[in-house]
């Protein structure tokens, strides 16, 4: 196995922000090489330099003993470097086959595409690697896992010898991830080198040969998988030990806080997206809701906070019927809500940190006197919250749009938790947030629970659900596929339930 690619002393900054101050990376032929690091560690930037999207400020790219100072996207493609982006670059209205050959179509004549030859060529890929893709389906009709395989075939069809997979498992269920891993293994056997970007250590340990760790734009180390373990990787990645609640204390939940009885909730296009759902949350417990995105999580949570009407059934909060109360009335009862998407509904993006923090408090006496905002009180409240929830930068007037994902999410969480809610509905509380902040947010949620709040946490990240929840409810097509005790289950069982399987 020879070295085919090397990135040396790469530096790249955007304006005054240093994205990469010391990038080192090398790739052997036919290996799976993972790059790990927190959000903002520079791994994506490094890969974009490799793919020709950015030109580095300094440093060189050595490919098959030839040195380049930078690549264009076209050169990268010609050299056989292909990227499978996190967001799929597919055209929904075209078929899988059309998507794959787009831009490199076999031609019958100048203006006619030779679909027959294309299909034949595709067969070699699908048979050789055992790809399970349906060429004639429209992309819009295929599931995420398959769309990802289409992306991989697309890249291979363009002659990729090095394939970069940018957080490929973020959108997959464990079963689909397993399928992806077998594809990766087959690619490796055939001599393709794979760069695998992730921050899920479990997967990295499973699939890689070697692992490169980056932190804050710097190369930390490249290690062989066989010579390391998860703890060591986490430590290198964060520069400190990861707080992990391994010895889960058995919590003792109190009385029932929220009770849903046979609720039906309409979706955007269909009636009864949520069908006949019944569950309860007790005081001082975290009920995790697992499920593949789009199985009714949105409708479910919106119905609980009052954004969406309930067709039938009852929601009781401390034995009070809240089924028909408005959002405002529910919020008054101390129900908190962390929306799924902080950009569209979680934050006033053009508002300052202080605006966002006081948005819930604006109806309380200590913030407003005779209709006029008490600036001094608002500021001291914001200062306290920024300190307590560690929001950086500590500038009250900073516009939220310019905050990093982690800090923006902390603003949302600070706003909700400073109401000391009795029930908190937390949707995807750590989506798109770096590991350091994830850790902090998890800590905050646990703390709130220990202080007696009931938390309903919806997440598509199984690791998160398992780490935080006391009990786990699995949603599948708007119904409950199962409710399990968190300490008596594992990813495999949850994955099965998420796919609609029956509990074994």
């Amino acid at each position: 196995m020879g070295k085919i690619l090397e990135l040396k002393n790469i530096k790249k900054s955007f304006g005054s922000v240093k994205a990469i101050s010391n990038g080192q990376f090398n790739l052997l032929e036919g290996e799976v090489h993972s790059v790990i690091g927190e959000n903002g560690a520079g791994k994506s930037t490094l890969m974009k330099i490799l793919g020709g999207v950015y030109a580095p400020d300094e440093g060189s790219i050595i490919y098959n003993d030839r040195e380049y100072s930078s690549l264009s996207t076209k050169e990268a493609l010609e050299l056989g470097i292909g990227i499978v982006h996190q967001e799929f670059m597919l055209i929904n209205e075209m078929t899988v086959l059309e998507n794959i050959i787009l831009g490199k179509e076999p031609k019958k004549s100048v203006s006619r595409i030779d679909f027959h030859t294309a299909k034949e060529e595709m067969k070699t890929f699908t048979e050789e690697y055992g790809f399970d893709v349906r060429l004639n389906k429209k992309v819009i009709d295929i599931p995420v896992g398959e769309a990802q395989r289409v992306e991989i075939v697309k890249t291979l069809y363009r002659g990729a010898k090095i394939m970069i997979l940018d957080e490929p498992t973020a959108v997959l269920t464990p079963q689909e991830s397993e399928k992806l891993f077998s594809v990766i293994r087959k690619l490796k056997e055939s001599g393709t080198s794979i760069i695998f970007i992730s921050h899920k250590l479990q997967e990295v340990m499973e699939i890689s040969d070697r692992i490169t760790i980056m932190r804050a734009g710097e190369f930390i180390a490249t290690v062989n998988k066989s010579e390391t373990n998860k703890g060591e990787l986490a430590k290198m990645m964060l520069g400190r030990d990861l707080f992990h609640d391994t010895n889960r204390e058995k919590t003792s939940p109190g009385e029932v806080c929220l009770l849903a009885e046979n609720i039906f909730v309409p979706g955007e296009r269909e009636l009864s997206k949520i069908r006949d759902l019944s569950f309860e949350i007790r005081k001082g417990e975290i009920l995790g809701v697992a499920g593949v995105d789009g199985n009714g999580q949105k409708e479910f949570t919106e119905a609980l906070i009052g954004l969406r009407p309930v067709e039938a059934g009852k929601i009781l909060f401390h034995n009070q019927d809240i089924t028909n109360l408005s959002v405002k009335e529910r919020r008054k009862l101390k129900i908190g809500y962390i929306p799924e998407d902080r950009n569209s509904t979680g934050l006033l993006r053009d508002g300052s940190i202080i605006d966002n923090l006081i948005a819930l408090k604006i109806n309380f006496k200590d913030m407003v006197k005779n209709g006029i905002i008490n600036v001094a009180n608002a500021e001291s409240f914001a200062d306290d919250a920024m300190e307590k929830f560690d929001i950086r930068p500590r500038k009250k007037r900073h516009i939220c749009r310019r905050l990093s994902g982690g800090n923006a999410q902390k603003v949302v969480i600070a706003r909700e938790l400073s109401q000391s809610p009795e029930l908190l509905i937390a949707c995807q509380p750590t989506r798109g947030v770096d590991i350091g902040s994830i850790d902090a947010i998890h800590g905050l949620l646990r703390e709130a629970r220990d202080e007696g709040a009931s938390i309903l946490m919806i997440s598509t990240d199984l690791e998160e659900v398992l780490a935080l929840s006391d009990r786990i409810l699995v949603l599948y097509e708007g119904r409950i596929a199962g409710i399990v005790e968190a300490d008596k289950t594992d990813e495999e069982e949850l994955g099965l339930l998420m796919m609609g399987g029956v509990r074994s």
Partner: protein
């Protein structure tokens, strides 16, 4: 932020220069001397009490209608119906001015007229507000269409029930006691400008300091967020639109009580359009709004002087105003060039 402001000021200045160059070329093409025309234009804007007064006279309705537009814009509602609200406010003020004269002291009637004008405008704006909030009807369409209904209705009123028994379509004249006081005579600059500026400051503070203002802004910035927080978005949008309509109505009343002394059919000559444009180029800023309003008012006033002394049609100035707005709103235009230059500099360094 600071950088942004500097860029905007630069942008405005460049736009003005560009517009005057284009204007000069046009004038030369139709055989006039641009230097002379611009001298007369400047004179018409500021020289002497008549010209300065005319500028201030135009400034009042422009800033009030601009303010009306900004106030509802903050809630995410594009009130294109200020013109109609202004007409209805104007006819209400004219009607009450005639009906109540002699019954109450003059100042009291003045106040009643202005308040009633505001209420009329607000009431009229309630229609598109309700249509938008409950039926999701596009407010740009409904407000523009309702403008025709409003102005034609005022035409009917001043031709029939409120007909002033003169040859033209207008109401009777309002008693001098009720009219606003003038300054900078012989121009028609009037104390309405004080009302306008007070309202501007009030609304700027309203949005900065009060709970209601905060909630309205939140509804405008992000309706989804506001719903999640538990804000009744419908209610606050309606409130903002009512304020907007009220300001339009007040602008109409002031025009009648300050400038025209009676309701004359078609008096406004689309003044609300200029207010709206001032509001749009100021980007909803309460600081920029008076500046742009003043600029537009001065140009409109100067155009009259220019026409009088050089024979150039004042519609040329309207064209220049429109071009100016076009350039200012294309704020990417000049920024792009400076950006390119910066890039080139950086490349040169390397």
């Amino acid at each position: 932020m600071q950088e942004n402001k500097v860029a905007r000021i630069k942008n405005t200045l460049i736009s003005i220069c560009l517009v005057f160059i284009i204007g000069a070329v046009c004038m030369m093409l139709i055989g006039y001397n641009p230097a002379e025309a611009y001298r007369e234009l400047l004179k018409g804007m500021f020289a002497g009490s008549l010209n300065m007064g005319t500028t201030l006279e135009k400034f009042t309705p422009v800033i009030l209608t601009g303010l009306a537009f900004v106030v509802s814009m903050k809630a995410g509602f594009m009130n294109m119906g200020v013109e109609g609200q202004l007409s209805l406010g104007a006819i209400t003020a004219a009607w009450l001015g005639i009906e109540l004269q002699g019954i109450f002291p003059g100042t009291v009637v003045t106040l009643i007229c202005i308040v009633a004008g505001g209420l009329a405008g607000a009431a009229w704006s309630l229609i598109p507000a309700l249509l938008r909030v409950y039926l999701n009807a596009n407010e740009i369409c409904t407000t523009i269409l309702l403008n025709y209904v409003a102005t034609l209705f005022t035409t009917y009123l001043c031709l029939y029930p409120l007909y002033g028994q003169e040859a033209v379509a207008q109401t009777a004249k309002i008693d001098n006691e009720i009219l606003l006081s003038y300054f900078l005579k012989p121009s028609k600059a009037n104390s309405g400008i004080v009302i306008a500026l007070i309202l501007l400051v009030c609304f700027a503070l309203f949005y900065k300091k009060t709970r209601l203002g905060f909630l309205i802004k939140s509804v405008g910035d992000n309706p989804g967020f506001s719903e999640c927080i538990g804000i009744n978005t419908k209610k606050y949008m309606i409130i903002a639109v009512l304020f907007s309509g009220m300001l339009g109505g007040i602008a109409g009343s002031i025009e009648i009580l300050g400038v025209y002394t009676r309701f004359i059919n078609g008096f406004s000559n689309n003044i609300a359009l200029y207010g709206m444009l001032a509001a749009l180029i100021s980007g909803g800023s309460f600081l920029a709004l008076p500046l742009y309003s003043f600029l537009i008012a001065a140009l409109k006033a100067g155009a009259l002087g220019m026409e009088r002394f050089t024979g150039l049609p004042d519609s040329l100035i309207d064209i220049l105003i429109v071009l100016f707005i076009l350039f200012v709103t294309m704020n990417g235009l000049f920024e792009f060039r400076t950006f390119r230059r910066k890039n080139r500099k950086e490349e040169a360094k390397e």
